[in-house]
């Protein structure tokens, strides 16, 4: 049956448009219950025996949640205990409209077989479709649709012969809706009521989100925050320029301060400073907010005070004191920044937060504060009855809301990750905190893998040409647009942590089908160069190929073959040939101004059983590493040229912008302190001057300089050639560059493979590939994921370093000063590739006299006795500071040079460390 849906909408130009959509009703939509004999459903989802232990509903029942229940209590619905739920299409559509993340979660839940969630398309069912009536709001209409569907289910199931006691229960927190449902003879309960009745699982109650109903109970206390403006006012304000829209970034060091990054039209962007709880007005890190600027007279400078919100309870006095501290008058007008206040929230960007519980001091209390691991997130008040078991555990908490009368946002407990300090828990925490998708691959994704055993069926002629460079043809397996592709695109990159790898594509591909193993036929994408012995490329070709690798060697094995003069087989000879070419290539690259930078990379030796780090060493590079790298670079550049030639508008490239000269200040000053000059006018000049900067009595000096130079660099990013004009890769001194060589661990490479395949007519194209805006947004995601992967990696190394030092006790090591700060020096320990800070100021005792000079060096003079210069050699003790269990860190203390009152005495660490090891 055909119905038409009519609605009126406002067009962007300000006009009004009437839209008519066709809407088809059908009578072959099944109810999805095992009980029903009328519906011809092949595989009913809802079980016959849908029994849950409950005081309220002792009979088997199906649940029908309304939209608000799904939106707010998704954590509950995701619990394995909740099964046999009917999700109505009306609800699903509303959820999708209001919160895409919740929509995704509820969709995932419906796909899980054990959950027995059934999506009932009531909007297309002839008997449950309703039309909006006169004077009825959309919400009322939807509520009615939900009731009509529930009613239909009740009556429909009653017709079944084996129905027994089976009933349908409507879950809604809306009182009016519940009353009307009861009038219609339906069973309707509040969500809280129902969950509390589940006698079998009392812990579920903790996961209930606090809804507005509950908040009303605690009104009476005074309103702490100004009201947020409605969205319409905000939008009007932004249009007229009275408000600015931007992303809220809380300060890491000061909970009363934040900045809002405002991106205006063009490249003109400003940062607005916000100070004080009132002005922050309940914004949480990463929210998109509207801010109002204060007049210039009220502008302030960012405070340099470190403030942490760690008071035990809501005491107003301290608050005010803290705010006063901020208001210390600043005379220097140049430091004043645009200051404003938050008037409204445009979009909340709340996610579940990891952290730990601070147990309330009052025994038996159910309200507790939760401290997130991320310092930029305020503490969250949650309600739980299992506080004593949660103390010392890493838990996840979601924010539900932040009422005006509450000092802290309200939230609810989601999940317990495990004990703090535990390796698996901490790894999980850092994955979650860095937004790395790490769930196992879903069935939908895995269904796109080829069936095993897999063999090559097509025939391909192979051609022999001097140098062939093969990369596994991943794009053959990952077809555009399918679930596997979407998952890979969203993950963006494989994340390597210490002792753990989070794959971008399922294991079967990454370590079998797309791994060019020896003596097995594998699909490959090959780059073929004809080169003369001067390493000049005469001809470049790309082709899809089948490769049967003769030998798969590790870097070390290959190195041994090259070095071992007694080996003269074909493989070794060709390796030597390649190595010679690679050296020429490298020479050419460096002559062009490619930078050789250095950053200390650490590798842990893991205990094979406990997977605890037992030793760590910095990574060393062999000739063969460099050989492979050279050819990879060459392949990447060749491919970049090719795809840009073919698709000048939509080639995915990688660029590395030249840093602004001011970035180099620290490097130049540091070199100057040793009477050396660093020239930064070009990459070539920088590379040359870095090469020349060698001190004979200080062999590590050059490496230190290079580490410093690395810090001056910009981040390399992916971009779409149609959206940018500057392609230059500064670090590699190449006019054009892309990533082609690791499609199993980088999604960018898959796109590049596809582009290249289209360019050589080996594959067909698809619309998204040629859409530069889609490409560009893909690049943004990839850049974000890469950045996050890097952070996660660093955090993982840091955590394992802590574990390592925990086992070692206190160590004495030699290090070099990397930076000199106003009140501290930052020290690099080359042996561990570890960086740490030695503070000269302590919270509990007055600090020593410090004299900081930023002109030369910079230098720091302590107690007028010793002056620290950059790159000075010092001795420190290293130990683990576990005083704050949430943020454990490596503590360094100065041993040499000896400064009374500052440096510490040399401890006797050796026996202690040994004892610790034995204890384990």
């Amino acid at each position: 049956m055909l119905k038409s849906k009519t609605f009126v909408k406002k067009t962007r130009a300000g006009g009004v448009m009437k839209v008519v959509r066709e809407h088809y009703l059908r009578d072959d939509i099944w109810c999805g219950s095992e009980v029903c004999t009328e519906c011809k459903d092949g595989a009913p989802v809802l079980q016959q025996d849908a029994r849950v232990e409950s005081d309220l509903c002792a009979y088997p029942h199906y649940l029908i949640p309304d939209t608000n229940v799904v939106l707010h209590q998704i954590d509950i619905l995701e619990d394995p205990l909740i099964r046999n739920v009917i999700i109505l299409q009306t609800v699903l559509q509303e959820v999708r409209h209001r919160s895409p993340p919740v929509y995704k979660r509820i969709k995932d839940a419906t796909h899980e077989k054990e959950k027995h969630f059934y999506t009932f398309t009531n909007e297309h069912h002839r008997q449950t479709f309703i039309e909006r009536e006169q004077g009825e709001s959309i919400n009322d209409r939807n509520d009615r649709a939900i009731r009509v569907a529930a009613k239909w289910y009740t009556e429909h199931l009653n017709k079944a012969p084996s129905v027994g006691e089976l009933k349908v229960v409507l879950l809604t927190n809306d009182r009016a809706n519940r009353d009307k449902a009861e009038q219609n003879g339906l069973l309707a309960y509040r969500c809280e009521e129902y969950i509390k009745s589940l006698t079998g699982n009392p812990e579920l109650v903790d996961r209930l989100a606090l809804t507005s109903d509950d908040q009303n109970e605690i009104t009476g206390s005074k309103l702490l925050f100004p009201e947020h403006l409605p969205l319409s006012r905000i939008q009007a304000g932004i249009k007229s320029g009275t408000f600015l829209q931007g992303t809220f970034r809380a300060s890491r060091d000061n909970y009363l301060e934040a900045t809002v990054f405002v991106q205006r039209e063009g490249d003109d962007s400003t940062e607005v400073l916000l100070q004080g709880l009132q002005n922050l007005n309940r914004a949480v890190h990463q929210d998109v907010v509207a801010v109002e600027l204060f007049p210039k007279e009220q502008w302030v400078a960012p405070s340099s005070v470190v403030l942490q919100d760690d008071r035990p309870s809501d005491k107003e006095t301290e608050e005010e004191e803290a705010e006063k501290k901020l208001e210390s008058p600043v005379l220097d007008p140049s430091r004043l920044k645009p200051t404003g206040r938050v008037v409204g929230i445009i979009k909340r960007n709340w996610r579940p937060f990891c952290g730990m519980l601070n147990q309330s001091q009052i025994k038996e209390a159910t309200r507790h504060l939760f401290t997130p691991a991320d310092r930029r997130i305020p503490r969250i008040r949650i309600e739980t009855r299992q506080a004593s078991t949660l103390v010392g555990q890493r838990i996840i908490v979601a924010i539900d809301g932040w009422p005006r009368n509450s000092r802290y946002p309200n939230g609810h407990f989601v999940r317990n990750l495990g004990g703090a300090g535990d390796k698996d828990t901490e790894t999980e925490v850092l994955l979650l905190e860095h937004d790395v998708p790490h769930q196992p691959f879903s069935q939908a994704v895995l269904s796109f893998l080829p069936k095993m055993p897999w063999g090559i069926t097509e025939e391909v002629n192979t051609v022999w040409v001097p140098i062939l460079f093969h990369i596994a043809d991943v794009s053959h397996f990952i077809r555009p647009g399918n679930a596997l592709d979407q998952e890979a695109a969203s993950r963006g990159t494989t994340v390597y942590l210490c002792g753990k790898r989070i794959d971008m594509v399922p294991e079967l591909l990454s370590s079998n089908l797309c791994s060019l193993r020896s003596n097995v036929e594998r699909l490959a994408f090959s780059c073929i160069w004809e080169m003369n012995h001067k390493a000049e490329i005469l001809n470049t070709r790309f082709t899809k190929s089948i490769i049967n690798s003769k030998a798969s060697l590790t870097y070390a094995e290959a190195q041994m073959r090259i070095d071992d003069a007694s080996m003269n087989d074909d493989i070794t000879k060709s390796l030597r040939g390649l190595n010679t070419l690679a050296k020429i290539l490298k020479g050419q690259r460096i002559a062009k101004g490619a930078l050789t930078l250095s950053s200390p990379e650490v590798r842990f030796h893991m205990d094979s059983e406990t997977h605890d780090p037992i030793d760590l060493q910095t990574k060393e590079l062999k000739d063969t590493n460099s050989m492979v790298e050279e050819f990879m670079l060459l392949a990447n550049i060749s491919v970049a040229q090719k795809i840009y030639e073919e698709f000048s508008e939509c080639a995915l490239l990688r660029k590395h912008p030249a840093p602004p000269p001011s970035n180099y200040d620290i490097l130049i000053k540091a070199a100057k302190s040793r009477e050396l000059e660093i020239r930064i006018d070009s990459a070539k000049a920088l590379a040359d001057s870095l090469n020349e900067a060698v001190l004979e009595d200080f062999p590590y000096f050059n490496t230190l300089l290079r580490i410093l130079a690395t810090r001056c660099m910009m981040q390399a990013v992916y971009f779409c050639s149609g959206m940018d004009s500057d392609f230059h890769h500064y670090g590699l001194a190449s006019p054009i560059y892309t990533h082609f060589t690791s499609p199993i661990r980088r999604y960018s490479d898959i796109i590049v493979h596809r582009l290249l395949a289209v360019a050589i007519n080996a594959d067909s194209t698809y619309p998204d590939l040629m859409d530069k805006h889609k490409q560009s947004s893909l690049c943004n995601n990839l850049n974000y994921r890469h950045k996050m992967a890097q952070y996660a990696q660093r955090a993982s190394v840091a955590f394992h370093t802590q574990l390592f030092f925990k086992n070692k006790g206190i160590l004495n090591e030699e290090g070099f000063i990397l930076f000199v700060r106003k009140n501290a020096i930052i020290i690099l320990i080359p042996k561990f590739g570890l960086e740490g800070t030695v503070f000269f100021e302590n919270n509990d005792k007055p600090g020593p006299r410090l004299n900081f000079d930023s002109e030369v060096g910079p230098t720091l003079t302590v107690e007028d006795q010793h002056t620290f210069h950059i790159f000075d050699r010092v001795k420190v003790t290293i130990s683990l500071d576990a005083s704050n269990i949430q943020h454990q860190k490596i503590r360094m203390a100065l041993v040499e040079p000896v400064i009374p009152g500052v440096s510490v005495a040399l401890p006797e660490p050796e026996p202690e460390a040994k004892k610790l090891k034995l204890d384990r």
Binding site: T6, V16, K18, I138
Partner: protein
């Protein structure tokens, strides 16, 4: 316009019949043919009506859009007419064949309907001098069997009656920037008062008498006709003479009187019919083009 060839003998037959108040199809001189009206036939318009008069078939759709008022009358909305002579009606309209007729018809319609005596144009104003509703009246000739004007006017009146314009209100923020806000309830809409909307009565002079609602055959016997638009009170709002022949003042007077009488008699049953149709509500079985 579509024409039929009529022989001299036929002409004489028709003229003699008219003289005796007996027309070829059995009607009297002031009788209309069988008429069918249905409203709300095109769902993506704001108002629509289909009228068939004999074999003449007219479809009218009205779309309301927001526009700028005319500078001379800043507090009024206005109507725009477009007559599409479909090649369905007659092969002569194929290509650009119907264009000339279409422009002529729409100009006449504009004269008849777009004035404040026919329709309360002030009610179409949203914000004086800035925003007003513009009603785009699209007339589609599906089949021509004479007396287009009368059929069109009835269809337009029915479509205007059927028109529902979404309610808007102007909101103003602190800076005085006005913004149009739309009610999210599709039932919340404005109706037009069609009481004074005139109907057109075309009178064809045949021999010494005149007839209303002439068929193509009768039209071929006539040399001149008079178009009169009459409101429900019998007020004449527009008179136009069509055709090559001439009319003497006496017969113009006579024809005007007939037109007033016939027009007045046309309005009452039309409004009654429209009201009755609306009272049937949503349950009414729509006929549309299948009739």
């Amino acid at each position: 316009m579509a024409t039929v060839q009529v022989s001299e003998a036929e002409k004489v037959y028709v003229m003699h019949g008219v003289r005796d108040d007996l027309r070829v199809d059995g009607r009297g001189c002031e009788d209309y043919r069988h008429m069918e009206i249905e409203t709300d036939v095109v769902s993506n318009t704001d108002g629509s009506a289909k009228v068939s008069l004999g074999h003449t078939d007219i479809l009218v759709g009205i779309k309301a859009e927001i526009g700028k008022p005319r500078p001379m009358v800043p507090d009024e909305g206005y109507l725009e007419f477009f007559v599409d002579c479909s090649a369905n009606a007659t092969p002569e309209f194929e290509g650009r064949g119907g264009e000339e007729l279409g422009v002529e018809l729409s100009n006449t319609l504009y004269k008849v309907f777009n004035n404040r005596h026919s329709l309360d144009l002030r009610s179409l104003c949203i914000c004086p001098g800035e925003h007003c509703w513009v009603l785009y009246v699209d007339v589609l000739l599906l089949q021509c069997d004479g007396n287009l004007f009368d059929a069109m006017s009835i269809a337009i009146k029915a479509a205007l009656f059927n028109t529902r314009i979404p309610k808007v209100h102007i909101s103003e923020d602190e800076e005085g920037v006005k913004e149009i806000e739309l009610s999210d309830d599709p039932y919340d809409c404005m109706r037009l008062n069609v009481e004074n909307v005139p109907c057109i009565v075309t009178l064809c002079k045949i021999a010494h008498r005149h007839v209303v609602d002439a068929t193509l055959q009768e039209k071929a016997c006539s040399v001149a006709s008079l178009l009169i638009s009459v409101t429900h009170k019998g007020m004449v709002t527009c008179v136009r003479k069509l055709g090559r022949g001439s009319l003497d003042p006496d017969s113009i007077f006579e024809m005007t009187e007939t037109g007033k009488r016939v027009g007045k008699a046309l309005h009452a049953p039309l409004m009654e019919l429209l009201q009755k149709e609306e009272s049937l509500g949503k349950k009414r079985q729509k006929v549309g083009f299948l009739a």
